[in-house]
Amino acid sequence: MNSSKNLLKVENLSKVFPNGDREKVVFSGINIDLAEGESISIAGQSGCGKTTLLLIMAGLTAPTGGTLSLNGKIYSNPSSDIALVLQDYGLPPWKTVEDNIRLGALLQNIPVSDDEINDLKSHLKIEGLDHLYPHQLSGGQRQRVAIARILLLKPKLLLLDEPFAALDALTRERLQKLLLNIFRQRGLSFIIVTHDVEEASLLGERIMVMDSNGGGISAVIDNPGFLSEGYRDTPEFFERIKQLREVLKASD
C-alpha cells in the first residue's frame, strides 16, 4: 500500500435491505483504507453489492452500519471532494456539452475560467463539441464529458461505477489509458468497481474482491506494477488476471 496520508477510511460498513419479513444482507464488515494518490479496483460477481458500496462511499445511500471518513472527518452526505462517474454517464440530455461540463461548478457556485475549461477539453479531446447534446455524441465522448465535468470540480477522490462497461473494446482501452494518465498527472485517488477482471487488474494498485454471499471483502490482491509502461502486455498482468479469476471463482 502507498505510504501517503490516508484519504478515505471505511470502517465495518454493512448494508441490509428489507426483504419481505426477512432481511437481505448485501455486505457486512467492510474495511477499506485508501491513501492519497492510490487506486483500488473492487471486483465481484453481479449483485454482490459493488454499486451499493460505491453509492454509500459517495454519500448517496445510507449504510446500515459502520462509518466513513474523508481526511479524518466522518461524513454521510455527498462531498465536493468526492466525485462519482456512472456507467450511463448521468449527463442531462437537455444540456449541451458546454453546459454539462459547467453543471457541477454551477451547482456548487465554483467560479471557473474559460481557459480552465478549454484546457480540460483539449486534454480530454472533446473540443468543438460545445453546442452538441449528449445524444449527438459517441459513448466514448459522453464519458469524456462526464469526466471533464467532475475534473472541473477538482475532487480528491473519484468513484467510478463500471464507467466503461457500455463502450466498445478500443474506446474502453483508450479511456482506461486516459484515466491512468489523469491519475498520474493530478495525483487523484480513485476507486473503481467493475466485474471485468482485466479492467480490475489494469486500474487498481490493490484489487479487492467482494464476497457474493453478504460477506465483506473476501480477498485483497496487491498489483504493484499496474502503472508501469505497457503493463497490459506483460506476463505479470496476465498472471494477475488469472489470480483474480481464481479468487472470484472461490468467492462465488
Partner: protein
Amino acid sequence: MPKYVSYIITSAVALSVWYAVSSQLGALLLPDPVSVLSLLLIEAGSAEYWAHVGASSWRIVAGMGLAFIIAVPFGLVVGSNPKLNKIVSPFISMSYPVPKIVLLPIILLLFGIGDLSKIILIMLIIFFQVFITSRDAARNINEEMILSFRSLGGNKLQYYRHIVLPASLPGIFTSMRLAAGTAVAVLFFVESISATHGLGLYIIDAWGRADYTSMYVGIVSMSLLGILLYEFFEILERKTCKWKHTQ
C-alpha cells in the same frame, strides 16, 4: 418541408373536400367555403365579432393558464416525492374519472354565470391531464441521472430547476396541446349554456336563427382558436426543448 407549406397544402385539401361535400349536400346544410370565408372577412371588420372572439379567448387562455400554473408545479413535486405521491395518488385516481362537465350546475351556483365559472370548469378539466403527465414525467426520471446530479452537489431547488422541469417539459407540452382540443370543446359547451358573449354563443345563436353561414363562421373561428393554442404550445416546446429536435 417547412411547416407553413404543409399547413397551406392541408388547408387546400380540407377546403376542396369541404367544397365538394357542400356542393353535394346543398348550401342549406353545408354552405360552401367561399361564402363562409367571405362572411368571416366581413365579420372581422365588426367590433361585435371581436367581442365574441375576445371573450372566448380570455376564458380559454385563463382556464388553461390556471391549469398549467397549478398542475405543473404540483405534479412535479408529487412525482418527485414517492411518499407524497402515495398520499395524493388515490385522490387523483378517484377524482380523475369523474366527468367534471357534470359539475357545471354546481359551478354555476357557486361562481355565477360570468366568466369565472367558465374559466374554473376549463381549468378543472385540463388540470387532471396536465397534473398526471407532469407527475409521471417527474416520476420516470432516470435513477442514475438523479444520483449523478446529487453527487455533483445539487440541492433540492436546483434539482427541480436543472433536472425535473426540463425532463418533464416535452410531456407537459404534449399534454397542453392535447388539452387545447378538450378546452375548446368545454368552452363551446359552457358558452352555449350561459353567456352574453363568446364564440359558443355565436354558433348557437346563428343555429337558432337558421343562419348556417354565420354558424360556420363561428365553427371556423372556434377551430382557429384551437389551432392557434395548439401551435402556441408546439412553438413553446420547440423553443424550450431544443435538444428534442436535434438529430
